[in-house]
């Protein structure tokens, strides 16, 4: 019994000590991402990009008169809405963060937006939740996103495909809201433009062999396969099985499939395949690439620039209202993101903070050409990536 009591007492002490938060006057921004769970390999660079923006503002020495920013990380798990809301609640009510960057995934975003952001009045900017359905979530205006909705990417891709004269395709998508959403938006746009979809089938991630799926798809008679999937998951398996059996030689991708690991693995076998991914070869993106590289953030994956943007918007909104109060931040997010004002690119936070401190106006462009529509979502620019000589090359911006 005594042992048991000892255990309880020591547990209690640990918890108490853990729950005493250290008082310092740094301003805290919550970073809610799926650090564990299905996208855990994507989140560390996203978090690093977000923290880069924070340290940039801290180091400038002029953020709210020289205040520092501290990031407080929380795990949104990507799938468990209950754990994600508990983590968000901890950030808001215990750590007293002024705003939240995140959550990463669409399902947890909807839960956090309705259960934590709206009731607490906390500005929440997700950098990677792309589900189209999030546009209609009851967030009372507190949920924003710097990653464009999937609905848009499907349209852009359909336009490119028709322009290339490809009139018949088969589609396979990974069976989640990302793949399904894209397949629907692409399908609708493609049909409207006169294309014909010979077959749509879903695939589950994490299987060892996809030859059965590829067999069904090729039986439809299509020569080109559209893959809405993930590079490290089923998408790669589908390509492998297609090349092995000679069913398809040409593929169409979206952001989840574009990365150097794909071309490294398949090389020139994929020549002529193409796809879209967010971001453009604009001045903004070029600048971001330089900054990311010099800070050691790999840019060969999605959502890094958008994470930087989400954080930067919160920082600039705080500066615009000259207060780290949550209401003030919420009031100014739209104003700093959109015109009119001086254009601010990634790496120029100091310039933006200076202008705002003097009472000027800015139009944050950031890493990925941020421009919010009336419900706080970016329109999104996409670059057309083609595989030429075994490497992804950006050929056009849409």
């Amino acid at each position: 019994m005594k042992k048991y009591l000892n255990f309880i007492v020591s547990c209690a002490i640990v918890i108490t000590m853990a729950s005493v938060s250290f008082a310092d006057d740094a301003i805290k921004i919550g970073l809610l991402a799926g650090f564990t769970g299905p996208i855990e390999s994507l989140t560390p660079p996203m978090a690093a990009a977000a923290e880069l923006a924070m340290s940039e503002a801290s180091d400038s020495g002029i953020f709210l008169g020289g205040k520092k920013i501290k990031s407080v990380r929380g795990d949104s798990t990507c799938i468990d809405a209950a754990a994600a809301t508990a983590a968000a609640e901890r950030l808001v009510t215990v750590e007293n963060v002024v705003a939240i960057v995140g959550p990463s995934c669409s399902g947890t975003s909807a839960a956090v937006a309705t259960k934590v952001s709206a009731p607490n009045g906390i500005t929440t900017i997700s950098s990677s939740a792309t589900s189209a359905a999030l546009s209609e979530v009851e967030d009372h205006g507190y949920f924003f996103r710097t990653a464009p909705s999937d609905a848009r990417q499907g349209q852009v891709l359909a336009n490119i495909t028709i322009d290339k004269g490809i009139k018949k395709v088969a589609i396979t998508y990974t069976n989640n809201d990302y793949g399904k959403g894209l397949s629907e938006s692409f399908g609708t746009a493609y049909k409207k433009l006169g294309g014909e979809i010979l077959m749509i089938s879903s695939h589950e991630d994490g299987k060892a062999d996809y030859s059965a799926e590829v067999g069904t798809l090729s039986a439809s008679g299509a020569k080109v396969l559209v893959i809405f999937g993930f590079i490290d998951q089923g998408g790669k398996g589908i390509i492998q099985a297609s090349l092995d059996s000679g069913a398809f030689g040409s593929f169409i991708f979206t952001d989840g499939m574009i990365g150097p690991s794909l071309t490294k693995h398949f090389g020139k076998a994929l020549n002529g395949s193409y796809g879209t991914m967010p971001g453009g070869e604009s001045a903004a993106t070029k600048k971001w690439k330089g900054i990311a590289e010099s800070s050691g953030i790999a840019i060969d994956g999605p959502f890094r620039g958008s994470s930087y943007d989400a954080t930067a918007l919160i920082i600039l909104a705080a500066q615009a209202g000259n207060s780290a109060d949550k209401t003030s931040i919420h009031k100014h997010v739209m104003a700093v993101a959109n015109a009119p004002g001086v254009k601010i690119f990634a790496g120029e936070l100091k310039k933006g903070l200076e202008i705002l401190a003097k009472g000027g106006e800015i139009d944050y462009v950031g890493a990925e050409d941020v421009e919010f529509n009336e419900i706080g979502e970016v329109f999104g620019t996409y670059q057309q990536m083609e595989i030429i000589k075994g490497e992804f090359v950006s050929v056009k911006v849409h």
Partner: protein
């Protein structure tokens, strides 16, 4: 007080104390959100305990039943999509009619003529006819505004009804599954239930006309008020003003309005959570009382006798198969109720998030750690494991911070540990399971009346 009673008192006391500590040390809103999930987890654990603890049925398909509960929350409470119902409602009705007709006819033929060939022919014909109409119906429904609806919607009834409906839906599925697979013994049953739960998830994920599949349903109506409405309600504002009158008086008049606003916002969140806690607690108490009564009745003794020695019980003339089916249905129904409660609390149904780690094995850890065969044990297990599941993260940060505090701020090891503190959650779970199994192999609260 007996040794056992002391154990019960200390474990519940500790849990209560820990949650109070979170309330005082961190925040009441966090503490209550942990409590609410603890209550739901406790109900799930009770469902497993009834199957495993009472009757020794090794069901690793809890996930499927909780998902069915969540599905019922959507089907009962969401508003119906008028266009979709208009376009495809009748078609779907025809499909269901043909399908049930096929099943009914084949059962009738089988019973009347015992002609297997004829039955197979009817089933095959039925399948093709159903499929023909079904494809047309689903395509019609799914084509209507796929990004935001694309399904039939629900019945627009109060969401609380779905807790009962979820129980019935899960019970129905369990009856069907039980009929097929309960003849199997322990490990075979485990494999069968694991597979079947994945089948249920696969169906829900792919039947978009039913609940939008992987595109998720958000905005399930609440049985309790919305925080935003409370913040604007006069009665609530007056109540909060009255409650905080003392502390407000201490502030200068200029800060009154802002302070009151902050109090109202906090209070509205706590109020909503308390409403949920009340609902969940009443369901938990109801189930505990019923389960306790059942366990201590002649029926409960019979079930445990079957668990401990199936042969002997069977030789005494007890209908083992029938009891197993009963237990399987009851336990799964409770899992279904808790699934509906969870979907209601989260306000959304996301089929992609049902993974065995979270909805089957975590629940099993709760039962094992709490003490299988003991209802109170399952409740304690549910509370403790969920508490650690959430609090492991801040504790992990704190541990990583403390253990490397002597290192330089930019030190690689320190940075690495701090950046990966989230993973301690999984280590914690393993450690707790090992520690409890080592020092109390029967769980925190072992089964009391093991001997009949």
């Amino acid at each position: 007080m007996s040794r056992y009673n002391i154990r019960v008192a200390t474990s519940f006391g500790t849990m209560f104390f820990l949650l109070l500590m979170v309330g005082f040390g961190q925040s009441w809103s966090l503490s209550l959100s942990i409590v609410n999930l603890c209550l739901i987890s406790a109900i799930m654990a009770l469902g497993v305990n009834i199957q495993w603890g009472y009757a020794g049925l090794f069901n690793v398909g809890i996930m499927g039943f909780t998902a069915l509960g969540g599905l019922s929350a959507v089907l009962i409470s969401k508003g119906s999509i008028k266009e979709a119902v208009k376009a495809g409602g009748m078609k779907m009705l025809v499909v269901i009619l043909i399908f049930s007709l096929t099943i009914a006819l084949s059962i009738y033929i089988y019973k009347k003529f015992k002609n297997k060939g004829l039955v197979i022919a009817i089933l095959l014909a039925g399948y093709f006819i159903t499929r023909h109409f079904y494809l047309d119906a689903t395509q019609t429904i799914e084509a209507i505004n796929p990004a935001f609806s694309g399904y039939l919607g629900g019945l627009e009834l109060p969401v609380l009804l779905s807790w009962i409906a979820g129980g019935f839906l899960a019970a129905g599925a369990a009856w069907l599954i039980g009929k097929i697979s309960l003849g199997l013994r322990t490990d075979y049953l485990a494999i069968a239930t694991l597979g079947i739960s994945e089948i249920i998830i696969a169906i829900i994920k792919n039947e978009d006309w039913l609940s939008r599949g992987v595109k998720n349903v958000t905005g399930i109506p609440r049985p309790v008020p919305y925080e935003i409405d409370l913040q604007q309600a006069d009665w609530f504002n007056e109540l909060v003003a009255k409650l905080y009158a003392g502390s407000l008086d201490l502030l200068p008049v200029s800060e009154h309005a802002a302070a009151l606003k902050a109090h109202i916002s906090d209070a509205s969140i706590v109020f909503v959570k308390l409403c949920y806690s009340g609902l969940f607690l009443s369901v938990l108490l109801l189930i505990i009382i019923l389960a306790g009564l059942a366990l201590n009745s002649p029926w409960g003794r019979m079930v445990r006798a079957i668990r401990d020695n199936e042969m002997a019980a069977s030789a005494m003339g007890k209908n083992v198969k029938q009891r197993h089916l009963q237990i399987f249905v009851i336990g799964s129904a409770i899992a279904g109720v808790s699934g509906a409660m969870l979907a209601t609390y989260n306000g959304q149904f996301t089929p992609g998030s049902y993974i065995p780690l979270r909805y089957t094995f975590l629940i099993w850890v709760m039962v094992i750690v709490g003490g299988s065969g003991n209802n109170l044990g399952s409740v304690v297990g549910g509370f403790l494991i969920w508490f650690l599941w959430i609090e492991a993260e801040p504790v992990g940060f704190w541990l990583a911070d403390l253990s490397t505090s002597f290192l330089d701020k930019e030190n690689y090891i320190r940075q690495h540990l701090l950046n990966n503190a989230q993973y301690i959650r999984l280590i914690f779970m393993g450690a707790v399971l090992l520690v409890v199994m080592r020092f109390s192999p029967d769980g925190i609260l072992p089964e009391t009346n093991k001997k009949l």
